[in-house]
């Protein structure tokens, strides 16, 4: 390096890279920090032309601004994002060093010369720290989101569980209540009989026993239904889908309940085709039909009529159990298939029931892929409809 430039030695003691060029774009000084960053020794580069030593700088993008600085123009900045490397430099791990470069004019009065000073700052660690910080912040945000969602999900399932429990509680209290009455009656009557056995005549005793017999039948059927329902809840009822003739089921149930109907002087009629092939679980559909006809019997007056009909509708078999009985109002109708609504009602012969049968019907019908609904008017009777999927083989 020429003697007159020895004054630049001071720049060898600073952590910023300094390169000084003259108006001929000749490098007249290259400091220690630049030597370390670029592995280019001062002796090898001083005296050389800037654009010849770094060919990527030999373009208008750099030549024009650097020339304007040498002419006394304002300083020019080359950021790390838009210029990957002004002076190429690499970290020990072979990643490029991010160098922020500023070129500014410098006049040296002693030498009466104009220079451009290229000062280089290392932004690598700063930008790395910022990227890390951003990454961690994004991660933290994601984590917060995840936790919020998990809490949300937990809250939802807790709510669901609570609702489920409430429903079950209601249900149990209804059942317990409905069981208590008949069993209470049992208890009372039996106590009475036991204490006063000698005093009662045979006829009188029979009078007591008869309602007990009725009650026990009802109680038994209630408990049966309860068992079926409970089994359905735990999924222990295995449905077996087969093709069968729905008409057979209807005829069976009608003949089973014919005696009961006659006892109550109710007409039990059918309007059915000879054959209606469906694809469903035989036992559950049987239960549904039996329940619906039993109910109809319960709520129809003596002299009344129950009609069981069936026909094809679209891809389903549509069954209807129609009675000329008490009918229901809107309120009762809305509570019919619901587990949490208390809808004990007395039949036309004071028969008691909990309506559990209808709940079971709904579950069974829906499990078989059908729908169940009711049309009814108070005092005018009810029509219970349900659908069962037809068998794929076409019905004649």
């Amino acid at each position: 390096m020429e003697e007159k430039y020895l004054q630049f030695q001071i720049f060898n003691s600073i952590p910023i890279g300094i390169c000084i060029i003259n108006t001929n774009f000749q490098i007249i000084f290259w400091n220690k920090q630049l030597e370390i960053w670029t592995n280019i020794h001062s002796n090898d580069i001083v005296g050389k032309n800037l654009f010849e030593s770094f060919s990527h700088l030999n373009s208008p993008r750099y030549i024009i601004p650097i020339s304007s600085v040498l002419d006394g123009g304002p300083p020019v900045v080359f950021s790390t994002q838009l210029h990957k490397s002004f002076f190429p430099s690499y970290l020990p791990n072979m990643q490029p060093r991010l160098l922020h470069t500023t070129v500014s004019h410098c006049t040296c009065p002693l030498l009466n010369e104009n220079f451009a000073v290229i000062s280089v700052e290392d932004y690598t660690y700063l930008s790395y720290r910022i990227k890390e910080h951003k990454r961690m912040r994004d991660q933290a945000l994601q984590e917060v989101e995840r936790r919020k969602k998990a809490e949300e999900d937990l809250r939802k399932s807790e709510a669901q569980l609570r609702e489920l429990n409430a429903t079950k509680d209601k249900f149990f209290s209804i059942i317990a209540h409905d069981l208590k009455n008949p069993i209470g009656a049992f208890k009372n009557v039996l106590e009475l009989l036991y204490e006063n056995f000698d005093e009662f005549s045979k006829e009188e005793i029979l009078e007591f026993i008869e309602p007990l017999k009725e009650s026990s039948t009802q109680l038994f059927s209630l408990l049966e239904n309860l068992l079926i329902w409970a089994r359905a809840q735990t999924g222990r009822i295995q449905l077996e889908f087969v093709e069968f003739n729905l008409i057979n089921l209807i005829e069976n149930n009608v003949s089973l309940l014919k005696l009961q109907a006659e006892n109550k002087q109710i007409q039990l009629l059918t309007e059915i085709p000879e054959k209606l092939m469906v694809f469903a679980d035989l036992n559950s559909i049987n239960t549904v039909i039996r329940n619906l006809i039993s109910n109809a019997l319960k709520f129809t007056y003596p002299g009344g009529k129950i009609t069981v009909s069936a026909k094809e509708q679209d891809d389903f078999a549509l069954v209807c159990v129609e009675d000329t009985g008490m009918g229901m109002n809107e309120e009762t109708k809305s509570k019919l298939f619901r587990i949490d609504a208390h809808h004990t009602s007395l039949g036309t012969n004071q028969e008691k029931g909990t309506g559990l049968g209808l709940i079971i019907c709904k579950e069974f019908v829906e499990a078989n892929g059908g729908k169940i609904w009711v049309e009814s008017e108070e005092g005018k009777g009810s029509k219970f409809f349900f659908t069962v999927p037809l068998a794929k083989t076409h019905n004649d």
């Binding site: 123009g73 304002p74 300083p75 790390t80 500023t102 500014s104 700063l126 930008s127 910022i130 951003k134």
Partner: protein, 208 residues
């Protein structure tokens, strides 16, 4: 020594030329056409400067580049962008999408280069056209509220004239607005007026 409307007209023309050069540079760097609008020049007082920003711009989250100068003229120049305009500028240059762009120090560094290009064109053209040689400081990049930006720079003192020009340009339908402020030290004002007069007298622009 008064600044007349004729002087303002001259300054306006000089700023036009500066803006044109800045646009040309931005065009060649981004590869995109820059649509220009006429910057409007005003001479205001320091109080009016603060009022201007309170009424016309977002007050916080501004980015600025400052270039201080001395010589026949002494004073300081600033280019101020809202963060929104700043990120649009960077977007136009780096092909990043709005989502990717998280305005932080890395983007700020990029903006310091782009802002510097614009500022240099404006100040450079003024110096060139008035045929004066100035000594410049290293450009200073600052972010913050308008109060922080104006007060961090001691060169914006109370005694002097302030020239305000709002530059508006758009790159590919990204509307970018920046405010250019030139502060001329009171001591320098007579020289400034003199060089303007000389300019007018000689019929206009010197060829270089």
């Amino acid at each position: 020594m008064e600044i007349t409307s004729e002087h303002i007209d001259v300054i306006q023309e000089m700023i036009n030329i500066g803006v044109g050069q800045a646009a040309n540079l931005l065009n060649s760097l981004s590869g995109k056409h820059v649509k220009l609008s006429v910057p409007i020049v005003q001479i205001i007082t320091p109080e009016q400067l603060l009022d201007f920003f309170k009424n016309h711009s977002v007050l916080d989250n501004l980015s600025s580049v400052t270039l201080t100068f001395s010589g026949p003229l002494s004073g300081s120049s600033k280019l101020i962008f809202s963060t929104e305009s700043a990120s649009k500028l960077v977007m136009a240059f780096t092909d990043q999408t709005q989502d990717e762009l998280d305005f932080d120090e890395i983007q700020a560094e990029t903006l310091s280069e782009i802002g510097n290009i614009v500022l240099n064109s404006l100040v450079g053209s003024l110096a060139n056209l008035l045929n004066i040689n100035l000594n410049y400081s290293i450009p200073l990049y600052l972010t913050g509220t308008i109060d922080q930006i104006l007060s961090a720079d001691l060169s914006f003192k109370d005694d002097g004239i302030i020239l305000l020009a709002r530059t508006h340009f758009s790159i590919e339908s990204l509307a970018i607005e920046g405010d250019f402020i030139l502060f001329i030290d009171l001591k320098s004002v007579p020289d400034f007026v003199k060089s303007l007069d000389k300019f007018i007298q000689e019929g206009g622009f010197f060829t270089k």
